[in-house]
Symmetry: D2
Subunit: 381 residues, 4 copies
């Protein structure tokens, strides 16, 4: 490629949390430039946001429809290559579908859509379009998560027997949604969030991480959800039993009312020959245990790593990479794939979450809600 | 008291793990001396064990019955004051009952007995005897566990919403019971262990710790047990959902096949105003989180502790106390109570686990096994 | 500003470690774009590097002189705004001086120059030029370092009594410079590195961090340097005593032969009322101790932070920021200053390291080398 | 042996910190019983202390002279076997010498005596007496310290190049000695402490630990001592440069005014092939680094330990042992030696600190004080 990829953003106006994250993450590796955006459903706000991002006024659109249609008409040399959708859940489906139908690749925040029906329809859209679709399960971008996945895949841990996964936050411990906090407001609103609260927002990450690292599927689950925040209708807490498709068992604990927890996504995987543990808040170490050896701690660009971990580390050992870099790895791998397509090259096993992970995530949400309604009965995914 | 208390031990012959722990723990605070023992069902082995402990030969008995009866006949000035029962589970009931009936106080390892029936009968024995009975849920002896309990009791954390408790070990990851490992052999044998494997051995500790710290009861549970070790019949792994009697929810994860885990008993408790976490392998810190304050870490004899934690710390801050010291605290509080009785004094709220905790522990085991048989259906304790 | 700042890079061709870091760091906050470069002293390599960065061929120059002169001639609307110098130490002075003389602001890697003479001359150049000069003591960009500095400045810790600072690496434990490792080769070569080895490469960071956090000056030092690597002439290890200008005392330990250490920059500061500790490899927590309170741990965007820490955190608490983000903060604050100048605005106390810190760094190196030559006699800075 | 060893204690009356520690530590392994004591220079207080320890009144003496002389006259079957001296420094020499002269073995707290002259004289006494003398450098009793020493001795780390050792406390941050705090009062008084304050109290531990683990001698040192507490005459802080007898270099930092530090004795040792780090406050892990392998963490009774570490671990992996257990190991190894002597057996390389370590400790104090008086000039030990 003789140029960077051109990104158009949908959502993520000034003050947005995740839009800013996507912008920073997509810029780190120097492969992508933001060229246009429909940052808000208000044309005025969209333009103001674009201006603050140094975009030309005529590339700041008042709606995603306008952006997709107008960009489509631009000369190939100017036109955006893909859209990045960073809106609340209920605004994922329509822009993603439209973009695909107009020949644009898509990066989309998770969960994939508002409803499972939309998800299934979008899956079809992706297949029809021939375009690629990346879902930002960003935590799989960490080097030590790659190392963990590789260790399991290569059989280092032996057959997996037990999994503990948790994603704990405390920021909804009080009724912040009643204070006008924008991040909270839409997340507790079923019309914007879907049938899952914490389930969709963080539970899908936990489920995805467990499946990504172990290479196993959650076969069935039993979910006991909680709604502790006054006036809420969606779950803000959940305790789950898991059964994997190889006979392994486990627990999942998710919460947004776990007071004091910041962003505590963590996993432990126990096999017949070894085990591992990883925590997102301390992402640059992977602790492993062995039948005969002492505890071994792996670090990015440290000794004895698999290639899968080495390729995603940007800087020498001891120089911590964080959330944005892991997020950037999703964009980097997506961009590498898009560039290959533009160059008429093929890529073996592109490593980023796709529509397949999106479908599993929505199925996870639906299964958990159904289980909870039946007093934590087992439900197959 | 003008003298130390005199202890007679049942079980715990040479090579025993837990017998040695009880002896060391009971000696630390200088209130108790070992004066006799029925260390083995073989009179010869019992005498050999006693000799290695510098006991006179005539105080080393060939059976617990012999010990109880003969000691009973000794002059009051020589006779043991209490028995310490450190045998496998199936050998708790008979000696405890006999000791109580002959007027001896009892310290007994957990779980209380082999069956729930025995437990209920022993509860009656204790009540009839007027003697005191301490169950060595030793982990409640840690200073930071005392601090945790006091913080919850005083309302510092507000209403409790969520609990995560785990007790993870990996020493049964392979079939060590087939190698003649004595600790393993009886633990996987229902005739000696009862209906619970990991449930009885470590699950009861986890349940006890959760109830001790929160002051709540586990009201109902759903248990998905696992038996991963080849040829085993008892659970060596378990994943549980918990519902507490105040509406709080939680998970419990226990395992003896969590490869690499040593003795990882840990708990997190989340309330409306604060939260806390504690780990047995790093027992000298209590991490707390707050709505408005930064994370606060408490240490034994450090700043801002409650009296409940201060009284059990033996040495200055920064001088780590460990497993034996926590265990010793159970003995110390028990001994203090016995001395008070001997001095015709009364004690307000003696702080050690009693027959009440023993009953709850057995009920926990039975509820979990029943739930597991019904595909993890909810069972009330 | 209606546009991003335009950066020209000197050094940092393909395969460079620190050039890539500067590029990534400067892009994160979306305020700066790379528009040209003299990436190598070989015109061919420079063009190849530029191409890989998607730069137009005519902005890839064969020398820094060419770049500075040609860019100067470009219309203001195209011309670069500042240069970023990411070459080995011996190539800092000439391009920095030339850039300043031609009206370009400068970002320069540390230490400032090859010799103290050059440093003093460059200081004069900066003053004459009226341009701004940022030295990338990047570790001061971490949020928790800002918090630490603010806490000391506001008197929270009381008068500072004791400092421990260390910067430990192990990557020169073996003679990697003899294997053609590019990073190592120039660092052990006095012609490229100057009179200090580890002193210049990492010791200056340690000294800068200590002075930045405490607001104190190292008044005098006693240095016992080591050269452990076979065939080396420069120090690869150093142990120093420090005396600060307020009477505080301390130690500094630096090493590049501390086998197994990755990038272990760490500091402890003890005052009369409180103390703090921070580690670069775990940068998202600041541990503090107090006379009457328990240990308090601060985290980025967590509770109770000072504004100084809040303004540099980009993402919510628990989403770790790392080395690149801290580095980016230097660029961000520099860019904010440049933009203000371009907008004819003024900025109160711009917060990035300048030529002043560059001078102190070189004085530190010279003092330490002199002390070492005199068997670790005290030398004033 | 058919009986426990009989210990007589000098000092350590009610309320004493270190006397209580010695009693608890000596009792843990069931090899030693306290039979008599001169707990205080007041006969009345001595008797009261003895009574609280359940000792018969006639074995509670009013002075150490009385105890040694009267015990000497008791029949061999009753007489104490050794004395344990737990008084302030100025009261070590006289009782130790008298005990040795009357045929008693001696355990003595550190530093060995008040002055170097006394130390040299006591060394002679020990040699003349044929009795054994143990100095309680208790920190060498930790299992992970034994493992560290064994790893260095076996060459696992290769030639040692660099050492960092520190012993940091904060309890003298304020003038607690003016509040009547007994522990503080004598420690800041040269008449009772000797010429070193923190140097003698904790610096000797740090020096001993460094030499014990590395098997090297501190050949020379440069010391910059501090006296921060108002009204103090002895050092309460010190920063030292170290040169070992194999060419390794290092730093030592000690303090009792390092506010917030509890009992932070820690060491790092870097060799040509590996490195290790250990912290007393988290004593149950030994972190090691290697040229080619990932970080390995060793734990007591965990995988891959040397026999030297295994033999001192009392309980299974994951059951933390602490300060008292490490202290107990000194007593246990001392008692094992005494029992061997009583049984006319010999022991190969008894593993506890002796008069040799006592001499080096006093020489360390004197060298550091001399260096400090000469503005941190190098002084040979």
């Amino acid at each position: 490629m003789a140029r960077k990829l051109r990104m158009g953003m949908i959502g993520g106006g000034t003050g947005s949390f995740i839009g800013d994250v996507h912008r920073k993450a997509s810029s780190i590796d120097g492969m992508i430039e933001l060229v246009c955006g429909a940052f808000s459903s208000s044309a005025e706000k969209s333009k103001a946001s674009g201006k603050a991002l140094y975009l030309p006024e005529d590339r700041c659109y008042g709606s995603f429809e306008e952006m997709i249609l107008k960009e489509k008409e631009l000369p190939e040399g100017d036109r955006m290559d893909f859209v990045s959708i960073v809106t609340p859940n209920h605004m994922h489906f329509a822009p993603a579908k439209l973009a695909l139908e107009h020949g644009f690749h898509v990066v989309c925040d998770k969960p994939m859509t508002l409803t499972l029906d939309e998800t299934m329809e979008l899956e079809t859209s992706v297949q029809k379009s021939g375009k690629i679709f990346a879902l930002t399960h960003n935590y799989t971008g960490y080097a030590m998560v790659k190392q963990a996945r590789a260790m399991v895949a290569k059989g280092d841990l032996g057959k997996i027997r037990k999994i503990q996964v948790q994603y704990l936050q405390g920021w909804l411990s009080t009724a912040v949604e009643q204070t006008g906090q924008k991040q909270a407001s839409w997340r507790v609103d079923p019309a914007k969030s879907g049938i899952g609260g914490a389930l969709g927002d963080i539970g899908t990450h936990a489920a995805n991480l467990a499946e990504y690292i172990t290479g196993l599927d959650i076969e069935e689950l039993a979910a006991d959800l909680g709604t502790f925040g006054e006036g809420r209708v969606l779950d803000d807490d959940g305790n789950l039993l898991l059964r994997m498709n190889n006979g392994a068992k486990g627990t999942m604990s998710i919460s947004q009312i776990a007071l004091g927890e910041e962003n505590n996504l963590a996993i432990k995987v126990y096999g017949e020959k070894g085990s591992l543990e990883w925590q997102q808040e301390n992402p640059n170490q992977l602790i492993t245990h062995w039948l005969e050896d002492p505890v071994k701690v792996f670090t990015p660009n440290g000794n004895n790593l698999y290639e899968e971990a080495l390729v995603v580390s940007r800087i020498p050992a001891g120089h911590p990479e964080g959330y944005l870099e892991a997020f950037a790895t999703i964009y980097k791998n997506f961009a590498t794939h898009v560039m290959a397509i533009l160059n008429n090259e093929t890529i073996e096993k592109p490593d980023y979450p796709t529509v397949k992970e999106g479908v599993r995530g929505m199925q996870f949400i639906y299964a958990a809600v159904e289980s909870d309604k039946n007093n934590a009965a087992w439900v197959k995914i």
